[in-house]
Symmetry: C2
Subunit: 343 residues, 2 copies
């Protein structure tokens, strides 16, 4: 089959690799109908050291089950399935608590495993990992179904962990696909004021469509001042941080109300969070982390199927597998917000 | 009247100062029946620069109302009252939300204001700040009533913000008065396993009396390994951090279970918390901060009055006002856990 490999920064290739097969009785093999490129793929695309052995890429996909191992239950050949971005057994204590990213038998896509930017993938722990979509849905929903693999659930994780209550005010930092999904999630949870911090107009326009009531293009101290101006000097009850850079978390601390919550889902490109003294005096909570997408798919799937939400709008370009290298370039150059791949 | 002033590190003096008077119609004047020295007083005692003007000391006291301003309601002359360690109006949005430490008209004891280590204190925002103790209580309860000014409520804040559920496991870092109060609070909230990290046997013995099921004397990597050993390698659902030094917060990160909560109430003597990458992958929540003691006094007072809890046991020495300098010395030298002052 054909699949995407990364050999170093800026060096993405589509190559022929062995077709996946069932290796464990808990495995399934899925034919990928749609995959995509993630904002987090841009970190290695910017900085990965060159290596002779390429890493398989992609961790988001939907597809059709081709084959299942003898222990797989709840998933049948021919099912259309959503694969969250981490595999999980669905039975351990962490999975039962909804923290599938810490599953005791979890696995990740890519690297030496199959990735989502290819034709097929072996899915470990298929019974726990895959979510079956009831048949008969409109093909047009595929982008939104795919968004449940990662970005929509990641935005939702930010909002859930922030514990947003109806009527509260929320700042979302970042107008990427996750930030926009966080806006949509904050709206779902009843936030009355949603301030989106971002400066790419096409993206912030989609943010307004998703529920943002205000857009702040300024950054740093200016951005903080602007959000405070919009909130009587107090900042917002919740801040959903969807960037992962130090200036973003600093901005989050600047715009959160005393007693409020910073929920971060942007993978941090730094090691320390400036939340010692004097921020201690403000009783700020820092929460979030890598999103257990699996925990939210069953909750969000009905909203996608009945058209209540359309998170697939974050995809603004669709390409074939051979164009994946160009897709990385387009996302890195901010020409595309999020690129969908139809193998 | 006589009151305590600090002129620099190690330089505590008891001097004659003007008696407080009503300055605002919302003020009260309280005759202090019992005050105390706080672990947090030891930070300036260790490092405060010398100055010609001394700072008034103490932020915990109980006493009898001597005089009230014309706007004070709910508090009458002769009432026995508990003063939480921050004054608050009780009516602003932050106070109504239970975050009295962020009160829009709040005030702090000490510095140029009266402190709790003296004979009298002017209490700003008396209606919101003071909690009246119903008359007829046993004098022996005074230490426990005094503990509601700060340490017991601070330990309780840690436990409340951690959201401890019955049956969960908790690590408490620090065997000072706040750490021991956190142990008692974790027990009140139904924790089934309470691991106290501390190495002063008299204190950890009191910790066991308060509800600790295990004591770990080791620190750093060894301490982390020990707690993990006690919890099947996972760490505990909640960690209550009552020290405020960087190694303590690092230990907290080491002993918290994935998806767990670090609730810190030790005033941080550092600016950065190492919760960037890779801790992001573990979905750890950091919460807590300076405790809004006022929010918890009414909840804990009945438990003190009916003898369900006896948090006053953290006081292991009682002195008069003239002995306050020696009291600081005893606490700094760890001869005393917490010193009660009867002016």
């Amino acid at each position: 089959m054909r699949a995407t490999l990364m050999y170093g920064a800026g060096d993405v290739r589509v190559e022929t690799v062995p077709n996946p097969t069932i290796q464990e009785p808990t495995d399934a093999v899925v034919r990928i109908v749609a995959g995509c490129i993630c904002g987090s793929d841009l970190w290695p695309y910017a900085s990965r050291p060159e290596s002779a052995e390429g890493a398989r890429m992609g961790h988001e996909f939907v597809g059709v089950v081709e084959e299942i191992g003898s222990d797989v239950t709840g998933v049948a050949v021919g099912d259309f399935v959503i694969a969250p971005f981490v595999a999980s057994d669905g039975t351990c204590d962490f999975c039962r608590e909804g923290l599938q990213t810490s599953c005791r038998h979890g696995a990740h896509w890519g690297g030496r495993n199959d990735g989502g930017q290819g034709e097929f993938a072996r899915v470990p722990q298929a019974s726990g990992t895959l979510v079956v979509v009831p048949p008969g849905f409109d093909e047009k929903l595929i982008p939104s179904l795919l968004s449940l693999s990662d970005v929509m659930c990641t935005g939702y994780h930010a909002a859930k962990k922030a514990g947003i209550k109806p009527g509260q005010s929320v700042t979302v930092i970042g107008d990427g696909a996750v930030g926009l999904s966080a806006v949509l999630s904050a709206r779902l949870m009843g936030a009355s004021r949603i301030i989106l911090m971002g400066r790419h107009e096409a993206r912030t326009d989609l943010g307004r469509e998703f529920g943002a009531t205000d857009v702040v293009a300024e950054r740093g101290a200016e951005g903080i001042a602007k959000v405070r101006e919009l909130t009587n000097g107090d900042g917002t009850h919740a801040v959903l941080e969807a960037v992962g850079l130090k200036p973003a978390i600093e901005m989050a601390i600047g715009v959160v109300r005393d007693g409020g919550v910073i929920s971060r889902v942007g993978a941090p490109q730094f090691s320390d969070v400036p939340l010692g003294f004097p921020e201690f005096l403000r009783n700020i909570t820092l929460t979030g982390g890598v999103a257990p997408a699996r925990a939210y798919i069953e909750e969000l799937l009905p909203l996608v199927l009945d058209g209540s939400i359309d998170p697939g709008k974050v995809f603004d370009r669709t390409i074939g597998l051979d164009d994946v290298p160009a897709g990385y370039q387009a996302m890195a150059g901010r020409e595309a917000l999020k690129v969908l791949v139809r193998p």
